[in-house]
Amino acid sequence: MLLITCPCCGPREENEFRYGGEGVAIPTEADERTWARFLYYRDSPAGLFTERWVHTHGCRQWFLVVRDTLTHEISATSRLDEAPP
């Protein structure tokens, strides 16, 4: 189980959280290609990945996690209103 440090609540077990994956901004232009990318395309890299998690069973805040997808090691977490890690 991952130990995730929520920026508000501190270190908690993974099953308190839900996963959000890559954060994608809502497009201002919405042709079909752009809209498809917004709805369905999410990055799936090998290595360091900045991804979103939400602390469902805690403060309910979305935040950013930098995690290595090859080792599962988490190197940083940050609030969405902070500068990204």
Partner: protein, 404 residues
């Protein structure tokens, strides 16, 4: 028919790499090998290489729970998976190699009124499409699978189940041996330890794959990389709506025969069958985060075993022998993507997610057709990459997304 468990080292050639092939298939797993086999058998295309970064079948081929069934919900999915089941029924004879395909029946449990309605809907849809399907009341479920607990006094009571009697399991490694042997015998080069490091693409057309053993020129390049598809696509400058996550499974110590069928519970994310050696094989839910580590989090297994013990109290004294995870390529609608890409002569077959094993024959069958003709077979035409732009999704979530 050849006996099962023949020494696999003798089953295929280990050829020297040629400088160029008509088709290079990236990925020596079950789908890649099936594609190679059907390219030679159905289309007479034999100048083909399968390049595999490790050894044949070292990825999800040996990390799945071997469930084979065709009781999907969508009109696009049913004929695809039904052809797969029909191919399974004759695959051993076709390849002249036993793979212990055992149509022992697959139960899909319903635990709530809503799930019962949805399951019945799937049963009726299947029957309309000529796929065998039955709805069983709890007592009938108990009669078919005596170790199931059908008490109402549990958190998730069994309110009924669908049964597909022609569905079952097969022996995954024998499937791999059989396909590799069949492909090799038809002149296809299986290149192991040959990792793709890039693609040579000029004017939006792929000409060669760069590998750890040097460049290989290719008329057509066919991706069959399952969980590593996003990484391959990135090398080709291609974006795909695929995320790779772990899918865990486990096996118990060898026990006496207690379970005569496959039982799936989509709600509880637990799928159980008993292997020929007596081990109880269980599949779990996906870990939802992106990963290439081939392991998942323990809470997934813990939840799965809690559910299993409620459904099968007899398992309380079984020991968990091994756990493992495969990396599955999940598409947004839980259906595969099989077809052309924006790069000329570069084709993709991915997104089988948590249910690729059952589709092995049909995946190879339609992909080989697509590669041979440069356009999809009627069965895989709905499974194009374009559907994410047109909106014509084949949404198997709910119906099948977790219950593979």
């Amino acid at each position: 028919m050849e006996p099962a468990f023949q020494n696999p080292a003798l089953l295929w050639r280990n050829p020297t790499r040629k400088a160029s092939y008509d088709v290079v298939i990236v990925g020596g797993g079950l789908h890649g090998l099936a594609t190679a086999y059907y390219l030679a058998k159905n289309h007479g295309i034999q100048n083909v290489a399968v390049v595999e970064r490790g050894w044949l079948g070292n990825g999800n081929a040996v990390r799945n729970t071997t469930i084979i069934r065709s009781n999907y919900l969508r009109e696009e999915s049913m004929p695809l998976y039904e052809l797969s089941l029909k191919l399974w029924e004759t695959l051993a004879a076709d390849l002249d190699y036993d793979m212990l395909f055992d149509p022992r029946g697959v139960l899909a449990l319903a635990h709530t009124k809503a799930e019962a309605n949805e399951t019945r809907r799937t049963v009726y849809a299947n029957r309309l499409h000529g796929i065998d399907a039955e709805w069983l009341e709890p007592e009938e479920v108990k009669a078919f699978c005596p170790i199931l607990n059908i008490s109402r006094q549990v958190r998730y009571p069994v309110v009924g189940a669908s049964l597909q009697r022609r569905a079952g399991i097969a022996r995954h490694d024998l499937v791999m041996f059989a396909l590799a042997r069949g492909a090799s015998a038809r002149g296809i080069d299986l290149l192991q330890g040959c990792e793709v490091t890039g693609f040579r693409i000029v004017d939006n057309r792929v000409h060669a794959v760069e590998t750890s053993q040097g460049a290989i020129a290719a008329g057509t390049v066919a991706l069959a990389g399952a969980g590593r598809t996003p990484l391959l696509a990135r090398m080709a400058g291609l974006d795909l709506p695929i995320q790779s996550t772990p899918l865990q499974a486990l096996v118990s110590d060898g026990l006496e025969a207690v379970l005569n069928c496959v039982v799936m519970s989509g709600l509880l994310h637990v799928y159980v069958s008993q292997a020929k050696n007596g081990g109880l094989v269980m599949g779990a839910a996906r870990d939802n985060y992106v990963s290439y580590a081939q392991r998942g989090s323990f809470n997934i297994l813990e939840w799965q075993i809690q559910a299993a013990l409620e459904l099968y109290p007899i398992m309380s004294r079984a020991h968990m022998l091994r756990t493992w995870a495969g990396i599955v390529d999940v598409s947004p609608d839980a259906s595969p993507i099989i077809g052309r890409t924006p790069v000329e002569n570069l084709f993709v077959n991915c997104g089988w997610g948590t249910g690729g094993f059952k589709a092995t024959p049909v995946s190879g069958f339609v992909y080989a057709h697509t590669l041979a003709h440069g356009k999809p077979h009627a069965l895989n035409a709905p499974f194009s990459l374009e559907r994410f732009e047109t909106g014509a999704l084949v949404d198997e979530h709910g119906a099948a997304a977790v219950a593979h």
